[in-house]
């Protein structure tokens, strides 16, 4: 059962940061889609809940050809999914959101809450890292901007400290000849991934690989970069054999944990398959991209 708590409802970002600084045993609640589950299980029992759902300053989607995409922390999954500009510029984000939970959950859950929760099975993490995103967080004392890649520290742990709020996610403007793909493996379409893989590929004018990112979901304590496989591909003319080899490396490098839904062996195997497939898909997109 959920414990009794004091409810704090700030009207502005400034007030939110001040309240957060003031109360020690305090948890932020935004959409509540992840927090309420752990509270109901009694795993989290804070004295104060700081509700930032209504802090309008943090709810926005902005795009600029040079600067790229900026998404405020309290923007919901559904707003991202339904954004025309994101559909046009970063279709992989929309495709990812469409398979994130159910519409009800997407209407409540937010991008900031998702990243702060730092579940290695979360969908946005791997995709945003593949898109080379940064995350801005801060407290009443100041702000920090770090590559999302470095933000996650361990299972359900980030670089943030008590008093920090996620403020914004920044995704750079897409380069020419760029492609990005993501897929999770699950039994039900609306489920968290048993495992997942994101891949992005940028090609040089001569068709060789300029840059590549491979990020695995639920394959370890944090969204997992497979740099060994990335290094294999960089500078090369990509083909199916290389994608398969990268897949093999991914299945060796990952650190998935078995549970009732799949053995470790099966997880490794599927991570290899997904890596291969997402690389190929991203590559094909990059080839046809302007």
């Amino acid at each position: 059962m959920i414990n009794d708590f004091h409810y704090l409802k700030p009207a502005s970002l400034k007030e939110a940061l001040a309240m957060y600084a003031e109360h020690d045993d305090c948890k932020v609640i935004c959409g509540g889609q992840s927090l309420l589950i752990v509270m109901r299980q009694g795993m989290v029992a804070p004295e104060y809940l700081l509700d930032i759902k209504h802090v309008k300053e943090l709810s926005y989607i902005k795009f600029d050809e040079k600067d790229g995409l900026r998404i405020g922390a309290t923007t919901t999954h559904r707003e991202i999914e339904k954004s025309d500009i994101i559909a046009k510029k970063y279709p992989v984000l929309v495709a990812m959101e469409e398979k994130l939970a159910s519409i009800q959950t997407r209407n409540w859950g937010t991008i900031g809450g998702n990243l702060a929760h730092a579940d290695p099975a979360g969908d946005p993490g791997p995709v945003l890292i593949a898109l080379n995103a940064e995350i801005k967080f801060g407290n009443s004392g100041g702000e920090k901007l770090v590559p999302l890649d470095e933000f996650f520290v361990d299972y359900f742990e980030t670089q943030m400290e008590q008093g920090d709020l996620v403020l914004e996610v920044h995704v750079p403007a897409p380069e020419p000849k760029f492609g990005c793909a993501y897929q999770k493996f699950n039994l039900l379409d609306s489920d968290m991934g048993i495992v997942a893989a994101a891949a992005s590929v940028t090609l040089n004018a001569d068709g060789t690989c300029k840059d590549v990112r491979i990020v695995l979901g639920n394959a370890g304590p944090i969204p997992l970069r497979v740099t060994k496989a990335e290094d294999l591909l960089k500078g090369k003319k990509l083909d199916d054999a290389l994608f398969a080899e990268a897949g093999t490396i991914a299945s060796e490098e990952c650190m998935p944990v078995a549970d009732i839904h799949a053995s470790e062996e099966h997880r490794r195997h599927v991570l290899g398959v997904l890596t291969k497939r997402m690389l190929k898909k991203a590559f094909e997109q990059a080839q046809t991209a302007a």
Partner: protein, 761 residues
């Protein structure tokens, strides 16, 4: 036999409870709130097998707000069971005195002024256990050296069942080909939207009222009276709206029992509702089964003999498991004619959550094994699976030796229709296949292990002055729409409209006794009772019509569309409402009342009638990940005369989702007897995005035993699906799936083994 033209039957009738449900006005047991009501919670065993040495409730009692704490010692200690006729199968004390036999078994209960306090009090109860060695699998529990779960039960064998006809050995001799396989079928949670719940109120006049989420108010009444030492008539059970049952809600459960026990001690209403987790770990489940199947067949495809042995995981208690043991063995022969058939079923106690009946009642497991093996035999011998099923299938007038007599049977048309449908799909892309499976099911059981002296179904119909109708039935609407079905049958019979009927059900004090909603029995059995009651009332009305119209008695009168008339001259008549008013006056103000009942006699061992069907499942497999995608399910279905097309579609789609879940998603993995996924994140049920198209082709038959020719529709539809999916995968990938659920990992393992075998060749 041909169908008459009907006014109401076989139209699209919306569920008469629909508006109340979708607008949130329907009152479920969960919603019942009485003045001064207390909230109860149940303490459950953390051990799979342990002696209860001592229970100290003093600290819990001392918690402010706690009104009572009860253990087995505060009860009469009655060993109860729904197989009331057989004492040895009444093996469950809902609050056990001596020992616990599965994780989650109730050991004590608390009632307090709030749910939170009751929950907190559970932590203060100290139970001193002596942990005993436990056993979890039937093939282990049956061994000599296994721990004893129930004193005096040798090798933990709870019940055995032998079914045999023909000369089996001789029939095997005639076979040109014999195939043997082992299968493993999993358990499944009933997953009712409404978890187990009860509110009991015992009053100083010595009478108990219990609101309960039950499939049979009458069974609950009888069982409660038995364990509480009350007369049946002093127990009133109300089952207002019920959020699903699926075979899991007609035994006595701990919500009913503990709320009643505590209410009797306090003279206050007590409410006990299971959480979702409690519903998973402690409300019984579909029976897991190990099947050995040996089948003999002639080169031309004629079936000779089948011999099967089945070991089921009974869990800690009998429940409805004894019936599932029998029905699984019986339907394992379905829907075919065997010269020799032999089945030996063993239900084995283990230290796990008890297993019981669940939609299909043992048949989905039996069909998973039988229908796949038939396809493999066809492949082994180069025979056509449709042809073989047609050749050996049941037909009208067939007698299953010593067991059943088949009156109506549309199996052959079902096979023909599905064959046409499959052929229309043409050649499928790689890794995609369509599998078929046929089966049949009962329309109500002829079993009376409960030892009811009442007829199996009864109905009372009363006609009000304005022509509206009060229909009192004992059959239970648990969401399947039986109230609507009964309203349709009543409206058709009386010649009025569905909206003229008010159905009263789920109240033992005001409705006649009926065995309730299980075994696909209500449409046929309660339907016959309703039809008889309405015919009785109509006959009384028409007597006045004869007198009023002054017509020659050789004419037939009838009522249709609220118009009483001469059948041969329909324009000559009078409005039904006028007739009712006149009849009332003529009867000195007594209302017209009709009574009806039904009990099967001389209808074999199992059921008065059988539905038939063939189903096809179209599925695609990802050969690299093993993931299964279901594209479509198509069923050709003989349920006799459909009563309500909308109801039928609802049953078909619900069954498809449940049976597909059983086939490839739902599982109840345990570690040392502990369920590993007692929540809706880890227990996977099909949701809207995964639900494939599910179509139905109705086969027209007429069942002489059913009301207006109707048979069961709903439970049997869960039987063919797992096998059809298995056969689809076999056709797509050439692998044989012998274990449920069919998970991606099992698919990949089978693919690997197939590759290895091919490499060896």
């Amino acid at each position: 036999m041909s169908h008459a033209k009907y006014n109401v039957i076989n139209t699209h009738v919306h569920n008469i409870d629909g508006v109340a449900k979708v607008t949130g006005r329907a009152t479920y047991t969960f919603d019942v709130k009485l003045p001064g009501m207390l909230y109860g919670k149940i303490l459950r065993s953390p051990h799979a097998h342990a002696k209860i040495k001592n229970i100290d409730t003093s600290a819990a009692m001392a918690l402010p707000g706690v009104k009572i704490v009860v253990t087995g010692k505060d009860t009469l200690g009655v060993k109860q069971g729904i197989w009331r006729r057989y004492e040895e199968l009444c093996d469950e004390q809902v609050l056990p005195l001596e020992k616990v036999r599965y994780i989650g078994e109730p050991v004590a209960a608390v009632a307090a002024i709030t749910e939170e306090i009751a929950e907190a009090a559970l932590d203060l109860i100290e139970v001193d256990y002596e942990v005993l060695p436990a056993v979890y699998e039937p093939l282990e529990a049956i061994k000599k050296e296994a721990p004893t779960i129930h004193e005096g039960v040798e090798r933990n064998v709870n019940v055995t069942r032998h079914i045999e006809w023909g000369d089996v050995d001789e029939a095997f001799e005639e076979a040109d080909y014999i195939r043997e396989d082992w299968f493993k079928c999993s358990g499944q949670a009933h997953m009712c939207m409404e978890t187990r719940a009860a509110v009991s109120s015992f009053t100083p006049d010595g009478k108990l009222t219990c609101w309960a989420s039950t499939q049979s108010a009458y069974y609950t009444q009888g069982l409660l009276a038995g364990v509480l030492g009350l007369r049946e008539g002093d127990v009133r059970v109300l089952a207002p709206y019920v959020g699903g049952g699926f075979g899991g809600k007609f035994e006595l459960d701990a919500a009913m029992f503990t709320s009643a026990v505590m209410s009797m001690k306090l003279f206050k209403p007590v409410k006990v509702c299971f959480t979702r987790e409690e519903d998973f770990i402690a409300s019984k489940r579909r029976t897991p089964m190990f099947y050995y199947v040996r089948t003999g067949i002639k080169k031309d495809g004629t079936f000779c003999a089948r011999e099967s042995r089945m070991f089921s995981n009974g869990g800690a208690y009998t429940g409805m498991g004894a019936t599932a043991l029998y029905l699984s063995g019986f339907f394992h022969s379905f829907p075919y004619k065997w010269r020799g058939y032999r089945y030996d079923g063993y239900r084995v106690y283990t230290n796990t959550l008890p297993s019981t009946s669940m939609r299909g009642f043992g048949a989905p497991q039996a069909m998973f094994c039988s229908e796949q093996q038939i396809d493999w035999i066809c492949a082994d011998l180069g025979l056509d699976p449709f042809e073989v099923r047609r050749k050996n299938g049941h037909t009208e007038g067939y007698e299953v030796p010593g067991q059943a007599f088949i009156q109506s049977c549309g199996l052959e048309q079902c096979i023909n229709e599905i064959e046409k449908w499959v052929k229309s799909k043409g050649k499928l892309p790689a890794n995609r296949g369509i599998g078929i499976s046929s089966c049949g099911f009962m329309s109500g059981g002829i079993f009376n292990w409960f030892d009811s002296p009442y007829s199996f179904s009864s109905a009372v119909v009363t006609i009000n002055v304005d022509g509206t109708v009060e229909l009192h039935v004992g059959c239970q609407d648990i969401g399947q729409g039986s109230n609507t079905t009964m309203a349709i049958i009543a409206a058709e019979t009386l010649g009025v409209k569905v909206e003229d009927i008010r159905v009263h059900s789920g109240d033992t004090a005001h409705c006649p006794a009926d065995l309730g909603a299980w075994g696909s029995r209500q449409t046929l059995m309660a339907g016959n009772a309703v039809k008889m009651a309405c015919e009785d009332a109509k006959k009384q009305l028409l007597e006045f019509a004869y007198a009023e119209m002054g017509i020659n008695i050789v004419y037939d009168l009838d009522i249709k569309d609220r118009w009483a008339h001469i059948v041969a001259r329909p324009e000559r008549g009078l409005p039904y409402v006028d007739l009712v008013k006149k009849a009332l006056r003529a009867k000195d103000g007594q209302r017209i009342m009709g009574r009806g009942y039904y009990t099967p006699h001389r209808k074999g061992m199992i059921s008065p009638a059988y539905s038939y069907m063939m189903q096809a499942v179209d599925a695609e497999i990802d050969p690299e990940t093993g993931k299964i995608k279901i594209h479509e399910v198509m069923t050709a279905h003989d349920c006799g005369q459909p009563i309500n097309q909308l109801g039928l579609i609802g049953q078909l789609e619900g069954a498809a989702s449940m049976a597909l879940g059983y086939a490839y998603l739902e599982d109840m993995p345990m570690e040392d007897g502990k369920l590993m996924n007692p929540n809706l994140v880890d227990y996977k049920v099909i949701k809207a995005p995964e639900m494939p198209e599910a179509g139905i082709i109705e086969i027209d038959t007429f069942e002489p035993e059913g009301p207006y020719g109707a048979k069961e529709a709903g439970e049997g539809l869960t039987n063919p699906t797992a096998a059809a999916l298995g056969n689809a995968i076999y056709n797509a990938m050439g692998i044989q799936m012998k274990e449920l659920p069919i998970t991606p990992e099992r698919v990949l393992k089978a693919l690997r083994e197939k590759k290895e075998q091919e490499a060896q060749k």
